[in-house]
Amino acid sequence: MNDRIKNLVLGLVVVIGMTCAAVLVRHLDTLRPPPDPNAFDENLYLDGKMARRVSLGFNGLAADWYWMRSLQYVGKKVLNSDHPVPLDDLSSLNLKLLAPLLDTATTLDPQFLDPYEYAAIVLPAVNVDDAIRLTKKGIEANPNAWRLYHHLGYIYWQQHDYEAASEIYGRGAQIEGAPPWMEAMKAKMTADGGSRSTAREIYTRMYEQSTDEKVREMVHVRLLQLDSLDQRDGLRKLFAAYEARTGKCPSSWKEVEPVFRALRIAVDASGAPLDPSGAPYVMRPGACEVDLDPESKIPKK
């Protein structure tokens, strides 16, 4: 009986003690000052080469660790941001550790393609030189990965360096297994690099090739933006025709609504046509100009 009581008391001490410890930890969490969003990120202690050396054959696992750290690093900054930021324009988040983290991950495991692809999409807005350096590093370590050529071409295209983009697409097209559109992209970059149709082609291919949900989401928004740009051009043409006919720009959507109805274009209750995200376009009355609604999910730039 004594033993049973002793065991019961000891068991209770363990349970109550652990509960108290958990309560204390929660209390300590509330006492700890919140992290300073303006604080500088501490530099990495190890560079890639050193990390590889000390990983003792666990370099693959260490690379996974750095890769997940990169995602957490960006994710945390996005969550702490007071405004929504698109994946391809994170320049406002001060991501100075992202390039070293991805560099370390790829030095630990040079055949790990995802960090290179992530660098090609996210880094150009942060530091384009780092983005180019990392993607080139990926190509050097994986010369048969044609997707990396596509990503490097995308970076050059963003920088309006259509000649370099064309050359990279040409090199990628020669790789065994590369899709035929790589060769077509080479020609498109040379002839028509800055056009909307080239942008649509690039984003469509990225959407088809990417397995990352975040990247696909970002690319989808860019494709919607291109649709919206086309729609706004169409609306401007409509306004021009209206002006030519009546001698003035329309002052409300109601004036041009019959045209939308005839063309079976979706409109809201006020007669305003809807952009690809479902928000109504905003007319600048008397200016023959159309803008995106402030609430629209279509990027402004």
Binding site: L56, G57, F58, G60, D64, M68, L71, Q111, D114, D212
Partner: protein
């Protein structure tokens, strides 16, 4: 008459060889049973927990790289747990027998010291084999779970598992060598150092080439060839990318391990034979 004597001699030799093998097998069986009794295989429970957790949660953290992470994590845990078993159980194999004085009972029977060491070594190797096989099956099942069916990485992890096992066999032999002449704590430390240096072998070679002094060059070249080249057994990262080593490479590393193990066990027997238990 002469031929009858020769036949008798050959038969005796065969019987003695069979007896030797039987004795080694008996010691190995006991060493395996002892490891199981010491709950060495309980590490498998921890391994299964790690893999289950990784399979369920890692997808969200790794940005869709769960298959690669599972292979990296599973095989790295296999190596890490194996190294701990090889070191901490390996260094106690002989020491425990001496400490409990059971070694006197063993050597009062017709058992050679070499047979004793080889038997103990094979017993621990059998424990490690069970360990890596169960873990390999665990990684394969985790891959089946995350891929919701057959995964092409499954066949490519097994050559890496074999290389991990060879590395563990090497390390066990080294632990046994150290434990044949020093205390368990020191043996564990020395074995761990060999494990670390064994993964730095490429640096030793680079160092030997880049050094100016010829004596230093000779020293580092000597160390490069003397210490086990464990970096050759690291095939975890390529396995996670679906790349398997060539048959020639596996055979060569297997031969290297065999030669090295024979050398180490011979050395251990040499030291152990001279040891006085009085």
């Amino acid at each position: 008459m002469e031929s009858t004597a020769a036949i008798t001699q050959t038969t005796t030799r065969i019987e003695s060889r069979q007896g030797k093998l039987w004795r080694i097998a008996a010691i190995a069986r006991n060493a395996f049973r002892e490891a199981v009794r010491d709950r060495v295989l309980y590490n498998l429970v921890l391994f299964v927990l790690i893999l289950t957790g990784a399979s369920i949660f890692i997808g969200e953290l790794s940005g869709g790289q769960e298959r690669k992470v599972i292979v990296d994590l599973g095989l790295s845990a296999m190596l890490l747990f194996g190294v701990f078993i090889a070191i901490f159980v390996g260094v106690g194999l002989v020491y425990k027998e001496i400490e409990r004085r059971t070694i006197y009972a063993v050597f009062s029977k017709p058992v050679g010291r070499g047979e004793f060491l080889v038997g103990k070594y094979l017993g621990l190797c059998l424990t490690l084999l069970v360990n890596v096989l169960v873990m390999g099956v665990g990684v394969s099942l985790a891959l089946l779970y995350v891929s919701r069916g057959w995964d092409p990485l499954i066949p490519t992890i097994w050559p890496a598992v074999l290389l991990i096992y060879l590395e563990l066999m090497l390390l066990t032999a080294i632990a046994l060598l150290f434990s044949s002449f020093s205390s368990p704590a020191l043996s564990a430390l020395l074995t761990f150092m060999v494990f670390v240096i064994g993964h730095f072998s490429a640096d030793l070679k680079t160092l030997s080439v880049s050094l100016g002094s010829s004596s230093a060059r000779t020293l580092f070249t000597g160390l490069y060839y003397l210490l086990p080249n464990l970096a050759n057994y690291s095939f975890i990262t390529p396995a996670a990318h679906g790349r398997a080593p060539s048959v020639g490479f596996v055979v060569a590393t297997g031969l290297y391990a065999l030669v090295y193990i024979i050398v180490i066990l011979s050395g251990a027997t040499l030291v152990f034979s001279r040891r006085n238990f009085k």
